[in-house]
Amino acid sequence: MRRREAIAAYGFIAPWIVGFVIFMAVPMIISLVLSFTDYDGLRQSSFLGLDNYATMLADPRIRLSLLNTMIYAIMVVPATMAVALALAMLLSNVGRRSAGFFRTVFYLPEITPKVAIGVLFLLLLNGEVGVVDAALGVFGIDGPGWTTDPAWIKPGLVLMNLWSVGGTVVIYLAALQNVPTDLYEAAAIDGASAWQRFRRITLPMISPALFFTLIVQTIAALQTFDEAYAAFYGPSTQTGTATDAALFYLIYLFQQAFQFLHLGYASAMAWLLFVIIMVITAVQVRVSRRLVHYEGN
C-alpha cells in the first residue's frame, strides 16, 4: 500500500521533476562547465581552468556592480517590507467590500511590465519636469535629480519599486487575517497599547510571512535587472549615457554575455551570484531561528 502511494506521489510530481531537470539542473551544470572556459556562444571553447574566476577578482566593474547591487538590496528590501506591511495593516482594518477593491488596486502595478516601470521612472522622477519633484516643490523642497544624480539614482529606483509592492501586501494581509482576534482582545483588557499589541502580538504572529518575504525580496533585489536596464541601458536609451550608478550585477553579467560575447565569464559571474545568494540566505535562515515564531513551536 505504502509503495503504491509512493509511486502515485512520484507520478504526480514527475512533471515538475522533469521540468526542473531539463530547464534548471542541466542548464546550471552546463553553465558551471562553461564558467571554466572562454565560450563565446559562437566558436569552439577552450578550457581556462580558474582564469575567469581570477579575472573577476581583478575586475573593478565586478566590484562596482556588486556594491551597487548590495546597496540597492539594503535599501529596497526593508523599504518594501515596511510599506507593504503598513498597507496591509490599513487594508485589514477596512470593510470587506472595499478591501477587495483596494487589494485589486494595490496589486495592479504588480502585473505592469517591469520595462514600463523603467520608462515611467524616467518620466515621473525627472529632475526638471517630473511629477515627484513638482510635488516636493509644493512643500518648498527642491527635489533631487533622481534620474541624473549618481547619488540619487538608486534611491529613485527604490522609490519606483515601491509602486509594485502589491504581491507582498497580499501575503501580509493573509497573515494578518490569520492572527487570532482573541489575542488582541486579551491584550486590550490587560491594558496593552496599540504599539505593544503590534510589537508583542502582530509581529511575532506574522513573522513566518515576514521571513518568507525577506528571503524572496532579498533574492529579487540581488537579481534586479529590468527596471534599471530599461531606464538606463535599453534600446530606447541608446545615447551612451548609461550611468555606472545603475550598473547592477545582472546588467553587467548581461553585457558580458550578450554584448561582449564573454559567455564563459558571464557563467562564472552567475555562479558567484549563486554562491552569494546562498550564503546570504543561509545567514538569514540562521538568524531567523531566534526571531521567527511558528505556531506549534
Partner: protein
C-alpha cells in the same frame, strides 16, 4: 535551445513555400514601412520561386547567439554595421568575396565609409543599407530672435560656439533650463567631435585604441564645458529627457532646443510632424571649417550556418542595389505627396541610388527650409567617415562612453577617465579574436 531560438523576431523558416521554392529565414529586419516593403518585394522577385520571409524586429544579440549555438542560424541577418566586425572575427558571418564575384555585385556603387565598416582584415562581410549622416540642426526662430545666423553656430570656432550657445540658452526665473542653446550630444557623438579635432579614436584596422590622445582630452573638456555652462549634466540631461523628440511637441516646435548635431532622419520627422518649423541645417565642420560627417547604419550579412547562401546573396544584392532603392524612394515620395507632406529623401549607402533620388525624386522647390536642410546633408555626406570594423567593437564603445559619462557625472576628471578608457579598450582589443 533550438526551441527558444525559434521564438520571436525571426522571419520564416527554411522550409518549402507554396510555389515550390525554399523559404529563407531572416533576423533583425521588419517591414516597418513602404521603403522596406517595396525592396523586399523586388528582392523576392529576384530569387523566385524561393522567397525570404521577413517579419522580425530589430537585431537581438541574445536571439542570434541562441540560433547560432543551436545550429539554427537564419539564412540572413540584418545588423548594425558596427557589430559586423565582432561577429565576423568569430567566424559567424560568411566573407562575401565569392558572393560578390559570382553575382557581379558592383562594390563601387556603395559609399566607401560604409564598406569600410563591414570590412575586417580586407574581407567584406556585409552589404550596407542606410547611411545615417550627422549634421548640425538649428532652430531658425531662436537664432533669428537672438540676432544670429547659422554661421554663428559653426563648429569651426569653439570659443565662438560656446559664446553662441550661452546666448541661446534660456532659463526660467527660478533657474531651471527653458531652452538648451547647443547640445553637443556626448557621449554619443564623441567620435565626430574627435574627428573634428583631428583624432581617430581607433586605428583603421580596428585593433588599437587612441583614447588617451591629448586632442581627445581637449574635445572632452570643451564639450563638458558647453554642458556645464548650460546648467550642468544633471539639469541638462533631465531637461533633454523630458522632450517628446519624435512627436508634434518636439523640441524644435516647442522652442526647447536651439541647436544640436543630429542624424539626417530627423528632417523627415520635422517634415512629418511640424512642417511649419524654421529648421536650419549645416554640415558639422572640423576646426579648419571643412565638413565632416559621422555616418552609421545597418548591413545585410549571411551567417556561416545559412542553408541557402546563394539565394541569400542574390537577395541582399537586390536589396541594396540602386534600382531597388530608387523604386522604394518613389513609393515613399508618392505617399508623402498623397499626404501633402514634403519628401526629404532617403539617405542610402548606395551612391548611385542617392544621385537619382536627390537628383530627380526629391522636389523641394517652394519649401526653402527643407531644400537647404537637404542640401546641407548632401554636402556633409561626401565627407563621411565611420568607425572601422573591430573584433571588440562593443567593448571599445562601452569603454569610451562610460568614461565620458563618469566625467559628465563629475566622478572623474577628463584626463583620468580617458586614461582608464584607453586601458580598458586596449585590453579588450588585445584579447579579441584574431590577435
Amino acid at each position: 535551445m533550438a526551441v527558444l531560438a525559434g521564438c520571436g523576431g525571426v522571419g520564416g523558416g527554411s522550409g518549402q513555400n507554396p510555389a515550390g521554392g525554399a523559404t529563407l529565414s531572416t533576423m533583425g529586419f521588419g517591414l516597418v514601412d513602404e521603403v522596406a516593403q517595396v525592396r523586399v518585394d523586388l528582392a523576392n522577385k529576384a530569387i523566385a520561386p524561393d522567397v525570404v520571409q521577413v517579419g522580425g524586429s530589430t537585431f537581438d544579440a541574445q536571439q542570434f547567439l541562441s540560433a547560432v549555438a543551436s545550429g539554427t542560424a537564419p539564412d540572413l541577418v540584418f545588423l548594425d554595421r558596427q557589430l559586423v566586425g565582432t561577429y565576423a572575427s568569430r567566424g559567424t558571418l560568411m566573407p562575401l568575396g565569392d558572393c560578390i564575384a559570382r553575382n557581379g555585385v558592383d562594390m563601387s556603387q556603395y559609399r566607401d565609409a560604409a564598406v569600410q565598416e563591414v570590412t575586417l582584415d580586407r574581407k567584406v562581410y556585409g552589404l550596407p543599407e542606410f547611411f545615417n549622416n550627422r549634421v548640425v540642426l538649428m532652430n531658425g526662430a531662436a537664432l533669428q530672435a537672438a540676432g544670429m545666423t547659422s554661421a554663428d553656430l559653426s563648429t569651426k570656432d569653439w570659443p565662438a560656439l560656446a559664446a553662441a550657445a550661452a546666448k541661446l540658452t534660456r532659463t526660467t526665473p527660478d533657474g531651471k533650463l527653458a531652452r538648451i542653446g547647443f547640445d553637443p550630444k556626448i557621449p554619443e557623438f564623441l567620435p565626430l567631435w574627435a574627428k573634428a579635432n583631428g583624432v581617430d579614436m581607433i586605428s583603421a584596422d580596428g585593433r588599437t585604441a587612441n583614447l588617451d590622445d591629448p586632442r581627445l582630452l581637449e574635445v572632452l573638456e570643451f564639450t563638458l564645458g558647453l554642458i556645464q555652462q548650460q546648467g550642468g549634466w544633471g539639469a541638462f540631461k533631465a531637461y533633454r529627457e523630458s522632450f517628446d523628440f519624435f512627436g508634434k511637441e518636439n523640441p524644435l516646435a516647442t522652442d526647447k532646443l536651439a541647436a544640436w548635431p543630429m542624424e539626417d532622419f530627423y528632417l523627415n520627422q520635422v517634415a512629418n510632424n511640424s512642417p511649419q518649423v524654421q529648421l536650419l541645417a549645416a554640415p558639422f565642420t572640423d576646426r579648419r571649417g571643412a565638413p565632416i560627417d559621422l555616418a552609421t547604419g545597418s548591413a545585410w550579412a549571411i551567417p556561416t550556418g545559412s542553408k541557402h547562401p546563394e539565394q541569400a546573396c542574390t537577395w541582399i544584392k537586390t536589396m541594396s542595389d540602386a534600382p531597388t532603392w530608387i523604386a522604394a524612394a518613389q513609393a515613399r515620395a508618392e505617399k508623402r505627396r498623397a499626404d501633402g507632406k514634403a519628401f526629404t529623401g532617403i539617405y542610402t549607402a548606395n551612391r548611385k541610388a542617392d544621385e537619382k533620388i536627390f537628383g530627380e525624386l526629391v522636389r523641394l522647390e517652394g519649401q526653402p527650409v527643407f531644400e537647404s536642410a537637404v542640401a546641407a546633408v548632401l554636402k556633409a555626406q561626401d565627407s563621411a567617415f565611420t568607425l572601422p570594423a573591430s573584433p571588440a567593437g562593443a567593448e571599445f564603445r562601452t569603454a569610451w562612453q562610460s568614461a565620458v559619462t563618469r566625467v559628465l557625472e563629475g566622478r572623474q576628471p577628463p584626463a583620468a577617465a580617458l586614461e582608464q578608457a584607453q586601458q580598458e579598450a586596449q585590453r579588450a582589443l588585445d584579447s579579441a579574436p584574431g590577435r
